[in-house]
């Protein structure tokens, strides 16, 4: 059972996503996004019709990404558990809804243009996270990513 957050966990949903005809039907998606969970940062690359790579990176790499997603650890757990329970994010757990619910936002970036990739490819990235409903997730202890 892959643990969240880890390269293995994202690789698992990457494989599901890349085989999903509905993901392809959403159209091309071209962006590099970060996932920041405590001190752990993962870079996820989307190119054309697939998610091509996931790797662990450092804080300085955030500058080269279109945007990164960041929220408190318990909110990550809540989001992923909600997706598992409903088969996809319910109305109050979509990426955009979470973005508007957090004081500092969920999608963050160093420039105002590249951050808009969060909106342009929003449904593909949502679909990517929704794929986590198809796997069982083990959550790392919060202290492990603090």
């Amino acid at each position: 059972m892959p643990a969240f957050p880890s390269v293995e966990w994202f690789d698992a949903i990457r494989e599901i996503t890349n085989k999903d005809p509905e993901f392809r039907a959403l159209g091309t998606v071209d962006c590099v996004i970060g996932i920041k969970v405590g001190s752990k940062i993962l870079e996820v690359t989307f190119d054309a019709f697939e998610c091509t790579n996931v790797r662990e990176v450092g804080e300085n790499d955030l500058r080269d990404m279109d945007f990164w997603l960041e929220q408190p650890y318990d909110k990550w757990v809540d989001m992923i558990e909600n997706i598992k329970k409903n088969g996809k994010a319910d109305l109050s757990h979509t990426l955009n809804t979470i973005d508007l619910s957090l004081p500092d936002g969920f999608a963050r970036a160093h420039d105002g243009y590249r951050r808009d990739a969060f909106y342009r490819f929003n449904q593909s990235i949502q679909d990517f996270f929704n794929a986590s409903a198809k796997i069982d997730t083990q959550f790392l202890a919060e202290a492990a990513v603090a």
Binding site: G27, T28, T94, D99, G112, N122, Q123, Q126
Partner: protein, 457 residues
């Protein structure tokens, strides 16, 4: 005494620069080409050798029925298995040797040729267009994204000039012919319309299209409280109106953009289509749950867009300022959606609108990178656009109250709803300023005082 062909000085200078000898230039002028046309060919990179080939035309290799056939014709005939008597018969009937070679190369069989001859001989084809000196042997390769506009922008076809010299609808990379009437374009400079991502945005828009009639889960809509339904219907009316206005405005600019910048024309066509889709889907939402349309908007902001006198003015106000607000509205509609159908509509409209904003802001950045002297001009457009937008805020209580009631879930909680409305406006302005900053336009200090007030909430 024969007329003397004289070469104008400008043409002679260009010919010397491009390596066209005088006799070739005189020959081309003698065929009726104008000096401007010839300069155009030279600027496009047509070589002297290509020009000679073009002027030689299809009849250059013509042979009479009784003379010796050329080696080239014999070789083509051997490959195509045309007997010599058939070839001589065709030449005697007036066909040019180069025409016959073309027929053979195109796969016309001897039997088919005889049938033509029996019907009075082959049609007298011109085929000089086959010798047109465009760049040939172009083989664009599909990429991971398919065969995209960027993938075919290779060789001369990918050269996007800073100034486009043609008034006609001639595609970029084709060869102009004399006498074609002007199309009435008014935009001939790249900096007036260009965005470095417009080709990519076009492909993205084509790939990420959606179909309101069947993709939206309409059956998920359930009856809402009367005030919430009325609020939603007023929002739908407001959005339908402004999306249609954007489509109308862009539709008017399309014919002004010359064909040299077809990537922009194509991208704007998808924008118009997406405006239409927004009109469609919000109108459908208004008419699908027991409600109806609401009140017209006062349209102050619309006027500043409709009255824009140049493309960058329109783009600054519509696709950067106004669309930043609309994008924030879609973000909040997505968050506060009452059912999966409204969630779907807002989320997809948000994707479309983000592309419109991306075009607008990348166009402004292109202008700043190539015409920094236009900086204050753009600031003035934004002064005007912001002022008119504020008029809408002051004089359109219907839209403001409708959003507030929808966000709050009813008019009993409208104070909370108005707070959310102000947060939405604040977010729209913050994102607008951040985008402008990326385009090297610092706007925070110059922002309209009325809009600045939202930032202080």
């Amino acid at each position: 005494m024969a007329d003397t062909i004289s070469i104008p000085d400008s043409l002679r200078a260009k010919a010397q620069e491009k390596g066209w000898p005088d006799d070739l230039v005189e020959q081309a002028l003698a065929t009726g080409a104008s000096a401007d046309q010839l300069i155009g060919y030279m600027n496009q990179g047509v070589t002297a050798e290509q020009a000679r080939g073009f002027l030689a035309g299809p009849a250059s290799g013509a042979a009479s029925g009784g003379s010796e056939l050329s080696t080239e014709l014999k070789a083509a005939a051997a490959t195509a298995q045309w007997p010599e008597d058939l070839i001589r018969e065709a030449l005697a009937a007036g066909a040019a040797e180069s025409d016959l070679i073309n027929f053979m190369t195109l796969g016309v069989t001897a039997e088919q040729a005889r049938e033509f001859m029996a019907q009075g001989g082959p049609p007298q084809l011109d085929l000089s267009w086959m010798q047109v000196p465009t760049e040939w042997n172009t083989r664009a390769k599909p990429t991971k994204h398919g065969l995209t506009l960027e993938a075919i922008n290779i060789g001369r076809y990918g050269e996007i000039p800073d100034e486009w010299p043609y008034q006609t609808e001639m595609p970029r990379g084709a060869v102009p012919i004399p006498g074609v009437e002007a199309m009435g374009y008014s935009i001939f400079q790249k900096q007036e319309v260009w965005s470095d991502v417009c080709a990519r945005l076009y492909e993205e828009a084509i790939q990420r299209r959606w179909r309101p009639a069947t993709d939206v889960p309409w059956a998920s809509i359930e009856p809402l409280a009367d005030d919430v339904e009325r609020a939603m219907c007023q929002i739908c009316t407001h959005i339908s109106e402004k999306e249609q206005m954007e489509a109308d405005v862009l539709g008017r600019w399309e014919p002004d953009i010359s064909y040299g910048y077809h990537e922009v024309k194509l991208y704007l066509a998808t924008t118009i289509f997406e405006n239409a889709r927004a009109v469609e889907v919000f109108r459908k939402r208004a008419l699908s749950n027991g409600g109806g349309l609401g009140m017209q908007s006062p349209g102050w902001g619309f006027r500043s867009v409709v009255d824009a006198r140049n493309f960058t003015e329109m783009c600054s106000i519509q696709m950067v300022l106004q669309d930043s607000l609309t994008l924030a509205q879609y973000q909040y509609l997505e968050k506060y959606a009452k059912n999966p159908a409204e969630k779907y509509i807002a989320a997809h409209a948000m994707e479309d609108k983000a592309r419109h904003v991306a075009y607008g802001i990348t166009h402004l950045k292109y202008v700043m990178m190539h015409r920094a002297d236009r900086r204050d001009e753009i600031q003035r457009y934004l002064d005007k656009g912001e002022g008119m937008m504020l008029q809408d805020d002051r004089k359109d209580p219907a839209t403001r109250e409708a959003f507030a009631i929808y966000f709050a879930g009813g008019k009993d909680n409208i104070r909370e709803g108005l707070k959310t409305y102000n947060q939405m406006r604040k977010r729209a302005i913050e994102q607008y300023l951040a985008r402008l900053k990326w385009a090297t336009i610092e706007r925070a200090d110059r922002l309209d005082a009325g809009l600045k007030a939202f930032l202080q909430d």
